[in-house]
């Protein structure tokens, strides 16, 4: 059963539609990756699904409920979002920032309960940020900071986690670290993960399901063997790609590519 899907979703400003009547199903307990060229509407789609921006028509359905009409705090217990490069949390310590993820469970004056403390500790633990608990977020490196923001999303204890380009600004090792953390959460805790990625090979390696977007519409959606093909990449990115197999993971990978011109 699919818990989350969009139905003829159109998103845009005024006359200009960025996403046009898009219907996509997000497989449960899988890692879904959205790929596509700059400006194709992948971030926009993610923001509309997570009600950060409103949509013009169509609907986003989670557990049979229209997301736009549901109580936003209740929704925050079901899905968490890590926006693209959040502004730095000036002056906050890591522990403080992560504890903000407990907001959906707080009532009254918002004192943290024992359970809140436990969840925050756990989120710091799995993201490997426990050592920085009392450090100011601003003093961390890009990779550490990104893990802290992921910890905040984890502290929300949601079954679905959205991430908008979680690997931007990170070096190769840190990129892999973040993606492996997400994979672990998916495998061990059955969290549904939906993310926008720029790197095709990372998408192929970590995603169970890939959605390829172009100009606000789906070109192809399916597993990586179905999406990372010469035809799809030509259509989506206008490139001539050489597709091989990753000798370590046996996943398809784009070995090299050329731009297609004059067509």
């Amino acid at each position: 059963m699919v818990r989350l899907y969009t139905d003829d979703l159109s998103i845009g400003y005024g006359e200009r539609l960025i996403v046009n009547e898009l219907s996509v199903q997000i497989p449960d307990q899988k890692i879904t990756t959205i790929i596509g060229p700059n400006g194709c509407g992948k971030s926009t789609l993610l923001k509309a699904i997570t009600r950060i921006i409103s949509h013009q028509s169509g609907s986003v359905i989670l557990d049979g409920q229209n997301v736009a009409k549901e109580n936003t705090k209740q929704l925050a217990k079901k899905m968490a979002i890590l926006p693209q490069t959040p502004e730095s949390a000036s002056g906050l310590t890591v522990g403080e920032l992560v504890s903000y993820g407990r907001f959906p469970y707080q009532t009254g004056f918002g004192r943290l309960t024992k359970k809140d403390y436990e969840v925050v500790e756990w989120a710091l633990e799995v993201t490997g940020t426990k050592d920085f608990k009392y450090h100011p977020v601003a003093a961390l490196s890009g990779g550490q900071r990104q893990r802290v923001w992921i910890a905040m999303a984890l502290a929300q204890e949601t079954e679905i986690i959205f991430l908008d380009e979680p690997t931007t600004y990170l070096d190769m090792a840190h990129q892999l670290e973040v993606l492996e953390l997400l994979q672990k959460l998916n495998r061990e805790e059955k969290r549904t993960i939906v993310m926008v990625l720029h790197d095709l090979n990372q998408a192929a390696r970590f995603a169970d399901y890939i959605v390829a977007l172009k100009a606000g519409q789906i070109v192809k959606a399916g597993n990586c063997e179905e999406v990372i093909t010469q035809e799809v990449l030509q259509d989506v990115f206008n490139i001539n790609a050489e597709i091989g197999t990753d000798p370590r993971t046996n996943k398809p990978m784009c070995i090299t590519y050329n731009l297609l011109r004059g067509e």
């Binding site: 950060i52 936003t72 968490a80 000036s90 310590t93 403080e96 903000y100 907001f103 009254g108 004056f109």
Partner: protein, 335 residues
């Protein structure tokens, strides 16, 4: 998830501020145009003073001290809320025009309605609130974009414009008024604490008793609104609703304060900013510090202003601006 050290630091700062405030209260009670020496303060307080001493303490200085502290606290809290919801450290009820809105309403009320001394006092915060609310409403809709919601930077810019326009309007109002009333309004604009009497304290106090706990109740939401919009939405804050409710609270706090003290700016800018640099940006921690700093700053400014030029002194609003304007410049340059 707060460091115990940070909490201890906050406690120590609160104690220091409290002592500082108390010391300033004592000095403020002991100096002034009329003589009431320091060694007579306690006997007078205990009811053993002469008639003159009692009059000076209980009817002149004490009410003024209390009203000044309360107003400073309200302005600091108002500024802290505005800075939280606009994510802009330059937001202050004076700078973004809320005070001027209250001022215009008070001027109109003062000029065109017959004054009945009794009920007049209690009506003032309401009149100021209505004026400030209308101003905030217009600033809000002009800074609101249907597609992206409220634009925090625009809110400050529009507010500065409103502040200028409304100050101009007050001058226009003055130019058509009688001499005696002009005096009052001119003093109001300068931020001369004119409502220094017990009824004014009773008119101001209820607003603080309700709105200080209310703001603490909203502290977590303010924390999240101060981060970034997507993050706040993501954890389930209904941002538009919270912004409007908090804006109303900020308007009410500022309006009730300036209705008795006159146009005082910069307290709402400085107090939260100093507090944040001392204990960090968590509202639960810095709000109490900001409130105490606000009360102390205004009392400090008024005590100096009252005593540098005899007999009338410099209005507290002018004194605060002398301190606040360079601070504002410093903040602007730092950005």
């Amino acid at each position: 998830m707060i460091q115990t050290e940070l909490i201890r630091k906050q406690r120590i700062i609160l104690v220091i501020l409290f002592v500082l405030l108390l010391a300033t209260v004592i000095i403020s009670a002991g100096v002034g145009y009329s003589t009431l020496s320091f060694d007579r303060l306690i006997p007078t307080l205990l009811g053993n003073g002469t008639f003159k001493e009692e009059f000076v303490l209980f009817s002149v200085r004490l009410p003024r001290i209390i009203i000044t502290i309360l107003a400073g606290m309200a302005l600091a809290l108002s500024g802290a809320i505005l800075q939280g919801i606009t994510r802009n450290d330059l937001a202050d009820p004076g700078i973004i025009g809320i005070n001027s809105g209250a001022g215009v309403a008070i001027s109109l009320f003062f000029l065109y309605f017959p004054i009945q001394p009794g009920s007049f006092v209690y009506l003032l915060p309401f009149v100021a609130f209505i004026g400030a609310l209308l101003t905030a409403f217009f600033i809000y809709i002009m800074a609101y974009n249907r597609k992206v919601g409220l634009q925090p930077v625009r809110l400050v810019l529009v507010g500065v414009g409103f502040s200028m326009a409304l100050s101009g309007l007050m001058i226009v109002l003055i130019s058509s008024a009688e001499r005696q009333k002009v005096d009052f309004i001119a003093k109001w604009i300068a931020g001369n604490i004119w409502g220094a009497d017990w009824p004014f304290i009773l008119a101001l106090l209820p607003w603080l008793i309700v709105l200080i706990p209310f703001t603490f109740y909203k502290a977590n939401k303010l924390n999240l609104l101060g981060l970034s919009e997507p993050v706040a939405v993501g954890v389930g804050v209904s941002i538009e609703k919270e912004r409007i409710v908090l804006l109303l609270a900020a308007v009410a706090l500022a309006a009730s304060a300036v209705s008795v003290t006159g146009g005082i700016a910069f307290i709402g800018l400085m107090a939260p900013h100093i507090a944040k640099s001392l204990v960090g940006p968590r509202h639960q921690l810095f709000l109490p510090v900001a409130i105490l700093i606000g009360g102390w700053l205004l009392l400090f400014a008024d005590t100096i202003g009252r005593n540098v030029v005899e007999p009338n002194g410099i209005p507290a609003g002018v004194m605060v601006s002398l301190l606040g304007a360079p601070y504002f410049m410093y903040l602007l340059l730092k950005k």
